[in-house]
């Protein structure tokens, strides 16, 4: 047992990785309920509001439920608090990131407004860290046109005439008083090891699969580990770009980001030499004439337009050959 190797080295295959950016971005629309709604409506009117809980403590921003009894608090418990307060804790942000509220260097702080018993997270515009200290007084400054967002205001040291660089922000209450909060991620998406071989094959006009090490089945796209037994897959093999439609659906629905005008067919296609159907479009035939068992061939985009993606095949289309018998693909349904 002394030979346990706790830290396992991860070996990558030869060759360069394939990576591409993934930027999920959405303007989330949040219904706020009456309590948070009162807070944001207050900001739009340049007023900072909190809520008094059942023990008399005032929370800013307001909480919806009493921290001790867990009972719902009511909009009638909302109270105004001062636009100035005390720094409870802080740090200095010398290089604000893209999502920071202030574009120029500033402090991130917990600030307890006068009249409140809790502190709120916010930013303080100042020349340098030397201007910030725990316990110091700060005052709110409002942006020219508040829209009901936590970024309608920022703080400055009491009496300061700082005029900091405000960062761009799209959020705030919308026409129906829902809070818009944009969320953006920036992720590098990397292809799997076997997937690299597959994607490079597509760019070269080939469909590459991989055979199981414990059996004859060929998987397209190729895997690193077998879904049937978890062991590493075996050899890479090229499969044909012709095959059989096992089953299909006809898309009539319209949705955001749709590339093709409905109706169109998305089908499972069992490529000749492969044992796992892939999903792709079947075009070049009226949708209502597509059949289970129909023989189809890949339609590749011109060589110059081929990419590391299944998009190198624009669609599949009928070969005109006789249909395959049901028995030849039944176990893949």
């Amino acid at each position: 047992m002394a030979t346990d190797s706790i830290a396992v080295q991860i070996e990558a295959p030869e060759g360069e990785a394939l990576s591409a950016p993934l930027h999920p971005s959405f303007d989330y629309t949040r219904s706020t309920g009456p309590i948070l709604g009162a807070f944001f409506a207050g900001l739009r009117e340049r007023t900072l509001r909190g809520i008094r809980d059942n023990s008399g403590r005032v929370h800013v921003p307001p909480v919806e439920f009493d921290p001790t009894t867990h009972e719902a608090l009511s909009a009638s418990d909302i109270v105004d608090v001062a636009e100035e307060g005390e720094v409870v804790s802080w740090t200095w942000v010398s290089e604000p990131g893209a999502s920071a509220a202030l574009a120029s260097p500033h402090a991130l702080a917990l600030i307890r407004p006068r009249g409140a018993d809790t502190a709120m997270l916010h930013v303080i515009a100042a020349e340098s860290a030397a201007d910030i200290s725990t316990g110091m007084r700060v005052e709110a400054r409002w942006i020219p046109e508040p829209r009901g967002s936590i970024r309608d205001l920022y703080f400055v040291p009491a009496g300061s005439q700082m005029s900091p660089g405000l960062a761009d922000y799209r959020g705030g209450l919308d026409d129906s008083d829902r809070l818009v909060t944009p969320v953006e991620l920036d992720v590098t998406h990397t292809a799997g090891f076997a997937e690299r071989t597959f994607l490079r094959g597509l760019a070269a006009g080939k469909i590459i699969g991989r055979r199981r090490s414990n059996g004859p089945e060929v998987y397209v796209p190729p895997r690193d580990w077998c879904p049937s037994d978890g062991v590493p897959m075996g050899e890479f093999v090229e499969v044909a770009d012709t095959g059989v439609v096992t089953t299909f659906g006809i898309v009539n629905a319209a949705f955001a980001g749709q590339k093709i005008t409905p109706p169109y067919v998305t089908a499972y296609i069992l490529l000749d030499g492969s044992d796992l159907p892939i999903q792709h479009l079947v075009l070049g035939i009226p949708a209502n004439e597509v059949r289970m068992g129909m023989r189809v061939r890949a339609h590749w985009v011109p060589e110059s337009e081929r990419v590391h993606s299944m998009a190198s095949i624009s669609h599949f289309e009928p070969t005109g050959e006789p249909d395959a018998p049901r028995g030849s693909f039944e176990k893949h349904l």
């Binding site: 629309t29 909480v63 898309v251 998305t266 176990k331």
Partner: protein, 408 residues
């Protein structure tokens, strides 16, 4: 499965609660939505916050609401501060697996009463956007969940020989049932098979009316041990004894996979019936809440779960066996076809099964329901969770415990 061949501590549902479900619950925050279901469940269980030993919470992808692990920021609103909190996520089956994780809390002997809640606030974003992000290297052939499932529904129709209006019959049954459920998102008391069949083909062979709505909603249950359950019963409140739970997962694609009746679903059901001591599910289950987001999945799952032989599911629909007055009522609450707050949909099935055996299913109560089945699935029909609940404790487990006690 019960590898230890050891009966768990008995557990029972003490109370259930759910929100009113609709496309956009603009009147509440995320926490407010959850609390509506929680407060109802706590009231139904006659439980106060001091009675709750742990909170288990489930929902589907966090990208739907744009908050990473939102239960963290909702800890206070969930009444969780100072207590154990567990967040479950198993795709569309999550509502069911959250209930099962909560059951395991009690069956472990470590917790007397736990609160389980699951939710989704789809109106904060757009589910189609979150599920169809253009991931690099992938081809743009997907068309949302309908685009994924339509080909498999076609396979089912072709291989079973089911009449083409089978799906429409399921819709009419579920929507009319949903019309009797005040919490349901859709209320269509007068819908007919002809209307459904005349509707638009969205993802052929799936028609518009054969798909589930997008809902905001939450579901909650309070689960207790036998001491808590007996207390409730002594006070005249029915409980739902948990006879068996089961979860199974398989890969979404592997060579030779049966997409119409996945192995994981069959395995989960077999394990469930064994643990519950059920030999003939159709005869022994009084009412079933089955996760049917597209109409055709009712006959498909009836076969997958062993309520009938392969290829016969559509016959139960045709005979009216699954109607509220049939011998196996399925989804008397209206089911997923009437309300679909994704993360909560599975727990709603589990909770509706419990309501039936507790005799508290209001207008959609099936008379004399003593043993009920709840079911959820997710991913590419690859995650399954299910339970059986009864008005009395599980005899199979009770007799096993007796045998073991005697052996000691």
């Amino acid at each position: 499965m019960n590898p230890a061949n050891r009966p768990p501590v008995e557990a029972a549902v003490l109370g259930t609660g759910q929100t009113h479900h609709t496309s956009r619950r603009l009147d509440v925050s995320m926490a407010g939505l959850c609390r509506e279901a929680i407060d109802a469940a706590m009231a139904d269980a006659r439980a106060g916050w001091d009675d709750i030993d742990a909170i288990i919470i489930g929902k589907a992808p966090d990208l739907f609401e744009g908050v990473m692990m939102p239960e963290l920021m909702m800890a206070d609103a969930l009444g969780a501060a100072g207590k154990p909190l567990l967040r479950v996520h198993t795709a569309g089956s999550v509502g069911g697996s959250t209930a099962i994780a909560a059951t395991a809390h009690v069956q472990s002997g470590r917790f007397r009463r736990v609160l389980a809640v699951s939710w989704e606030k789809q109106s904060e974003s757009n589910a189609m956007w979150a599920l169809s992000l253009p991931v690099p290297f992938a081809a743009p052939v997907g068309a949302g969940a309908g685009g994924h499932f339509a080909p498999h529904v076609r396979s089912y129709i072709e291989t079973s020989g089911a009449p083409l209006d089978t799906g429409a019959k399921v819709v009419v049954k579920d929507r009319r049932a949903g019309a009797r459920n005040p919490h349901a998102h859709l209320h269509q008391p007068d819908i007919t098979v002809e209307q459904v069949m005349a509707g638009k083909m969205l993802w052929d062979p799936i028609r518009y009316d054969e798909t589930c709505p997008s809902s905001d909603g939450a579901s909650a249950i309070v689960i207790g041990d036998s001491v808590a359950a007996r207390e409730a019963e002594s006070a005249g409140r029915g409980v739902a004894w948990i006879h068996a739970t089961s979860m199974r997962t398989e890969a979404g694609t592997y060579s030779g996979r049966n997409h119409r009746s996945p192995r994981a679903g069959r395995d989960a059901a077999a394990a469930l019936w064994a643990e519950a001591g059920i030999d003939d599910p159709r005869a022994e289950i009084d009412v079933a809440e089955i996760y049917v987001p597209f109409s055709w999945f009712e006959p498909m799952w009836l076969e997958n779960l062993g309520f009938c032989d392969a290829g016969d599911g559509w016959k139960l629909v045709a005979e009216g066996a699954t109607a509220p007055d049939g011998d196996l009522p399925v989804n008397p609450s209206g089911g997923v076809l009437s309300s679909n707050p994704i993360g909560a949909s599975g727990m709603l099935r589990f909770a509706e099964a419990a309501r039936q055996v507790m005799g508290r299913a209001d207008e959609h109560q099936i008379a004399g329901a003593r043993r009920a089945f709840g079911h959820a699935y997710g991913g590419a029909s690859q995650y399954f969770s299910m339970w059986v609940v009864g008005a009395e404790p599980n005899e199979a487990v009770a007799s096993l415990r007796e045998t073991q006690d005697q052996a000691l």
